[in-house]
Amino acid sequence: MPSLNRRRFVQIAAAGAAVTTQIGCGRKPSTLGQRAEIPTTCELCPNKCSVIAVVENGLIRKLNPNPENPKSRGMLCARGNAGMLQVYDPDRLKKPLIRAGARGEGKWREATWDEAFDYTAKQLTAIKEKYGPQGVLWSSTEAFAEIFFKNLGLAFGSPNIVRHPTLCLASVNLAYSITFGTVPSFDLLNANYVIMAGANRFEALVTPDTMDLIESTMNRKTRLICLDPRFTVTAAKADEWYPVKPGTDMAFILAMLHVIIGENRHDKEFVTNYTQGFQQLAEHVKQYTPEWAENETEIPAKEIVRIAREFSDAAPRAVFYAGRRSSWYQNDFQMRRAQAILNAVIGNWDKQGGMVPNTKIALGEIMFLPWDDPQAPRVDEMDQRFPLAAKGDGAYLALRENVLAGTPYPVKGWMIAKQDPLNALPDQSKTLKMVEQMDFIGAIDIQMSDTAYYADVVFPESTYLERWDPIEVMSGIWPAVVLRQPAIKPLHDTKPCLEIVQGIAKRLDLGMYFDYTIDQWNEAAAKELPIEMPFEYLKKHGVFTPPGAPTYGATLQPDHRFITASGKIDLYSERIKENGHDPLPVYRPPEQPPANKFRLVIGRKAFYTHANSTNNPWLHEFAPENRLWINPVSAKSAGVAEGDMVEVASRVGSVRLRARVTEEIRPDCVFMLHGFGKRSPALKRVYKRGGSDAVLLETAWDKVSGNAAMHETFVRVWKV
């Protein structure tokens, strides 16, 4: 090999370090600049992985994982790596905007913050005077600073706060809460047998659960069983994959219960000591034989029997994973209940390798002036329709129906933070109608989302790498406290959520309720942590985690009372019955698509899990447009070939996109990725590119939790 003299090596090293940046608005940092490493917290998905921002001369050069976080450890996914482009996106929101043309026409004028605040306060006050404070809806999605926005809605006097859970995992949370009194984590790192139905943890979202499951399945030979109508990455990595008939997961679970209880394989001691309602359960599942389930699920009875036996043999290190995704069917709560019950009877509760109640870390709280509770009832009538559900989060689709109908009262103002209801909610045409009937819409975002595009005022938020956020606790098997602090100063005329909230609050005479700074909030929050100089510690490390390994079994002590109706684990639930639903999960077969239609199933790729990252250039390259997955057999009968432009139509809308003819989907289903076919031209890479699933999905929800049911839509497909 050629020898390398020292002079030459120095040259090369310098060449390697030279930055030929594509970003940063043409600024070129020198190679001999100041280098700083700032620990902070990712915001690209709800998992809050710890990152270290490498900053040189005021430019973010790279995001690296922060191994100090016990959950995310040394991991940063594709989205986490690409997050820095949010800062340098030339199309991001840079100044407050006030609509200048018709709504949705895309004509704006730049405004000062004062103007934007004054205008918004005036509009909100006018609505309040005419319709009462309940006439303004406050909707937001998961964010550290969401609390400030939500509190502004409440201080304004509106009960109508609607958050993301009913578009996500409200049915899971409710089912596990009612059964166990809390929503547990699944100890995938230590489980020996894992069943995933629908959950696609190797593909749809990359989180600590993904890392744990790879570690256990590949290094420890944990057995992974996957049920999914698509051949996902999880299916490809699983030991066994069953292309279950969509909507029949509950039949599979009930048949497993039938086998486990029928063969006396349940954990008798655990069931006796910690649960109630076992006799009713045993009686109830007698009807659900594996042969019956084979007919429903298309999974052979002998496999169901074997899996049930293996699952109970592996207990307590066996879990039927709850999944982290939106609900699918109108019985989703009951399906999740069946999962919870199956987990309960094998006694995996609060054991290593089983389901583990989350450990929390207490934060301090800043004192602020309390406001009067809103007087009006919620517009979505949660109390009557979903009495068991978490009221503070609302039920988004039921809410939309009522707003459109004007019952029980008119809602004419809509404040939105970080959320994109036009893509997040099924049935986009209805959301557009909701937009149309609003007197005023204000949106806080970092980019011109489809929803922001239809707003009257758009407030540009600083990106997560430019702002402080409230300290957040990540509860779990390994709990942690994480801090988000700015890596750089805001590049543009943007503000963090708290300052936007304060600006509006001041002009609504509500400023006294937000009379604190983010620093004061964080000082107070950190104060309770059991370390010296806690806030300084967090600034230096970005994350705090208590010493020691996870502990198991605290809830198995004799004096523990489960926070359920009975104080034990509720297999049979009197409380559910009192509220008009089945106290044990009763299987009802889902409607099947007619011969000329397909069921539209949804799912995610981790670089695009939510609708907001498809325009990121470093992610967009992986899938420049979404395509319609269709099985070759179905494609042939529909006259569709690979790459053909097809029209996909449901009862509520139609979209055009190209076909991807693939063996990796059931012939009775079609599939497309989320986050394409955008309406906002500022999302230029995906503007009118591909199709939006939100246009096609019909309005349906789970009857108990109000969670949107995303798999209840049948579509026709034809070549254009």
Partner: protein, 181 residues
């Protein structure tokens, strides 16, 4: 540095095709869109419902006997004593012989600069004692980077107890990415 000889282990079974390594490399090395220094090969096989799929991360193999270096007419392509194969930008005339000579398609031509670019094992990070960006960021920890000259390295410990293969060994290039079986 003189004693070191860098190599890479890739455990493809653990790869979930999440692209974190591709984005991390792009960010770390400012690789322009349209090109990648690392990528993930995919293979999908079978007919519904008997299917399988596999993913294999790929990049420069930093070969022991690199054909790209041999064919370079100007000496721009060269190998350091620690095994890292590099392109000296000043000497590259953009003839692209090396691109043809590489059995792994690990090199590409940068139109904007008129020269050839490739994986450097993130030498700027390695110099600071860090691992390459693709190695560090990986959620499923597919890659292990290390010194194959050091018998005590984690890399050698894994190679001692696991079976592995290299890609296209018949070329005589002596590739230094070890794919675990």
């Amino acid at each position: 540095m003189a004693d070191k000889r860098y190599a890479l282990i890739i455990d493809s079974r653990k790869c979930i095709n999440c692209k974190a390594c591709v984005v991390a490399c792009r960010a770390e090395n400012r690789v322009p869109l349209g090109h990648s220094r690392d990528w993930i090969g995919e293979e999908h096989r079978g007919v519904w419902p008997n299917l399988s799929a596999s993913f294999e991360p790929e990049q420069c193999h930093h070969c022991a006997n690199p054909s790209c270096v041999r064919v370079c007419p100007t000496g721009a392509s060269f190998q350091r004593d620690d095994g890292i194969v590099l392109v000296q930008e000043d000497d590259c005339i953009g003839c692209r012989y090396c691109i043809i000579a590489c059995p792994y398609n690990a090199r590409f031509f940068r139109e904007d600069k008129g020269l050839v670019e490739k994986c450097t094992f993130c030498m700027q990070r390695v110099r600071r004692g860090e691992t390459p960006a693709c190695v560090e960021t990986c959620p499923s920890k597919v890659r292990v980077f290390g010194d194959i000259g050091d018998a005590t390295s984690q890399l050698n410990q894994i190679l001692a107890r696991r079976e592995y293969r290299t890609r296209n060994p018949q070329t005589g290039n002596g590739p230094q990415i070890y794919y675990l079986i």
